[in-house]
Amino acid sequence: MKRTAITGIGVVAPGGVTREAFWEALVAGRSATRRISFFDAAEFRSQIAAECDFDPQAAGLRPQEVRRMDRYAQFAVAAAIEAVADSGLDLASEDRERVGVALGSAVGGTTLLESEYVVVSDGGRDWLVDPGYASPHVYQGFVPSALASEVSVRFGAQGPSVVVSTGCTSGIDAIGYGHQMIQDGEANIVISGASESGISPISMACFDPIRATSSRNDDAATAARPFDRDRDGFVMGEGGAVLVLEELGRACARGAHVYCEISGYAGRGNAFHMTGLKPDGLEMSEAIMDAMRQGNHKPSDIDYVNAHGSGTRQNDVHETAAIKRALGEHAYRIPISSIKSMVGHSLGGIGAIEMAACALAIEHGIAPPTANLTQRDPECDLDYTPLVARRLPIDVALSTGSGFGGFQSAMILSRDALGEAA
């Protein structure tokens, strides 16, 4: 069975558009959450979000691409351009029939769909909307497959191409899909990651009635407080990250810089409730343990956990229990953190941003902090790396994800085996 190396990273995140700016912001513990500037959110319960200050043309997109793509697709193309450049691959000289694409998104082209709807329905007046006013690109918003299509087209990638849309675990699951494509020999290289641009009225509105999002509108900069006793929900984010996945032996043979290897990936469903989580964390812990078995990892091998840490009470309790069940006593000895405290929760995009953070944590030997965590929830008794980044050798990093629909995913990145492959 083939193994998967990560050889390129590209990031478009709130507070850090580019890999280096993103990492610098994380290490500094800077929150990018703020009052929503994209539209007037005065009538919403939650009026805050982590927005990207993103200039698509500066990120390398052509005018036609900007015109036809919804924002989430622009994020992915920008991140992919950065990731491919980082990998050192010259795709023009590669066998592009062996280059695949696997990208995730939870809500796809919702932003475009909504803005077009306002026009064709005359501001929500007409149910029988007028197609005469529709943009020629509206179908690109209707089907999230446009995301994978755009990235395949941009790089002339002719291998298998797919979008994975498992809600808030889409990011991990898309990279997991890309990883399995390499394991199974379907591609040598997979451009894989996820993106989301859900800061639109309909996406904000749908989380208001279920009180999933924070209403700390008067203190936007510290509103995302995972594991804090005063947290009151997640803060919507946007952005994306793309990784270049490459068959390990091939990456080593060409002398690529290998950040790390994907040594485990697994998913489980709680089969319980679309939004509810039981406090025992059972299914998430099963996913973690499956991923650990794949890499022959003992609990004591795990050096850092990048938590889902959305900042809802039920998540924080559920996830704490899951980590303890999977790692036992070792769970108390290692840094755990949630970068959602800084970049918000970009739904399907965040899982990929978090995998990028894990790869960079291994690369730099730094665990990014959980910002805004000043009063730890007594029900959450692990070390969540409050406020300040921590320097330590990280050979193995675990990332977890949890989402609507009951999906629980885990992925492990490691570098301990790299010497042997090289």
Partner: protein, 429 residues
């Protein structure tokens, strides 16, 4: 305890089928209509289509979600999810599979979706813009997104294995089944897979019309793939859910009637343009060739082809060229069917329904027809089946494409009771 890594010797078979289609709800009604050449396409009735250039579609008439799910769940979900849950119940019954009797972690749900709960979404966006944010309902967050159907199936049937949602427009049905096979090869015993779609609403239709690929002919014969007078396609709703199972699990359960094995799969992307037709058929050809190679079969072993049948000239010609390039001389003689002509194109549900048709064809030895095709285009020299045809079909090839350059192909192999290996033939599991 499952460790999700590829294991040698595992094989993925299909043991259950559940169909919700414009020309029949339930396997028997649908298959009878399909083999009789009965179309489910008609003028749209779910809303007044007068102002739309496309006015015909394949609607599933007489579908009552309450026949399959409780009122509370119906309120919380889109029509797309109702159909997914209904087809799942049918597929589980068809396979005599009772989830409660199995390890929850051994069962996965991996469906395809293309437009999610779009009608539910239109209702809620309408409320938001007409009345204000506080009018958006609590269920929008769980009904609209593309993972809603997989999530609800997982919850309804207590399936806790690794699940997924695959999106590649019309190719999605095959990609989901292939990902289902991947899960089986990694230790999962059963996967609820396939897909359905419900894209017949005013806004959904508006979005589809923007592609320029829909027929504006106001007649139930509007969708005529490979015809020289092809005018585009007719959209439709519904699809099929399939129970993918490890051969080991099917044998352990004592399943006597296995529909067939997922023998091979290939997927490519044109990598050419976000919507335009590529100049050559190389990547669609390669998807088919990869599927044959994965199945370890020669082109002349293919007994029937279920074609993608885009229904517009350039795309049809491209598929004809791909079939000739991949199958060689066999392409001109192998029976080719497009039963989609009786349902319209169902997006994520389309290829799933074609797989169901391929499985029923193999079981019953009857190839369903391609209806309404009058005169084949000269550049589509193919043996298109126009009326139901008796044939001994052991191996079927299903081809599917998705808007934006997605190409997929799947090879299915019939598995009769005598074909099921006994203990001595199987590797130790």
């Amino acid at each position: 305890m499952i460790t999700s890594m590829p294991q040698r010797g595992r094989r993925a078979v299909i043991t259950g089928v559940g169909v919700v289609a414009p020309n029949g709800i339930g396997n028997d009604a649908w298959w009878a209509a399909t083999t009789a050449g009965t179309s489910g396409i008609g003028r749209i009735t779910r809303f007044d289509p007068s102002r739309y250039t496309t006015q015909f579609a394949g609607e599933v008439d007489g579908f009552d979600a309450l026949d399959y799910i409780e009122r509370r769940l119906k309120m919380q979900t889109d029509r797309w999810t109702w159909m997914g849950l209904a087809a799942t119940s049918m597929a589980l019954d068809d396979a005599s599979f009772r989830p409660a009797e199995h390890d929850p972690y051994s069962m996965s749900v991996i469906t395809a979706s293309s437009s999610g709960g779009n009608e539910f979404g239109q209702v809620e966006i309408q409320k938001l813009w007409a009345k204000g944010a506080s009018h958006v309902g609590a269920y929008q967050s769980i009904a609209w997104f593309y993972a809603a159907t997989t999530g609800q199936i997982s919850i309804s049937h207590g399936m806790k294995g690794a699940s997924g949602v695959v999106v590649s427009e019309g190719a999605g049905g095959l990609d989901a089944l292939a990902h289902g096979r991947r899960a089986v090869l990694r230790g999962i015993a059963t996967v609820v897979s396939g897909g359905v779609e419900a894209p017949i609403g005013p806004y959904a239709l508006t979005c589809q019309m923007a592609t320029g690929r829909l027929s504006s002919v106001k007649d139930k014969t509007a969708y005529r793939p490979f015809d020289g007078q092809a005018t585009g396609y007719v959209p439709g709703e519904g699809g099929a859910i399939l129970l993918v199972e490890s051969l080991e699990s099917a044998r352990r359960r004592g399943v006597r009637e296995i529909y067939g094995e997922i023998l091979g799969y290939g997927a490519t992307h044109d990598g050419h343009h976000p919507w335009a037709c590529p100049p050559h058929a190389a990547q669609l050809t390669r998807a088919i060739t990869l599927a044959l190679r994965d199945a370890r079969i020669e082109p002349d072993e293919v007994d029937v082809v279920f074609a993608d049948g885009a229904g517009s000239r350039g795309w049809d010609e491209l598929e004809a060229r791909a079939l000739h390039a991949a199958l060689g001389n066999h392409a001109a003689v192998v029976p080719i069917s497009v039963p989609k002509t009786m349902t319209g194109r169902l997006y994520a549900g389309g290829a799933s329904l074609d797989v169901a048709a391929a499985l029923f064809t193999m079981r019953h030895g009857l190839i369903p027809p391609t209806v309404h095709v009058d005169r084949l285009a000269p550049d589509c020299a193919l043996n298109i089946v126009r009326t139901s045809q008796r044939a001994d079909v052991r191996t079927a090839l299903v081809v599917a494409r998705g808007y934006g350059g997605f190409n997929s192909a799947l090879v299915l192999r019939r598995m009769r009771a005598a074909d099921i290996p006994n203990d001595n033939d199987l590797e130790d599991q």
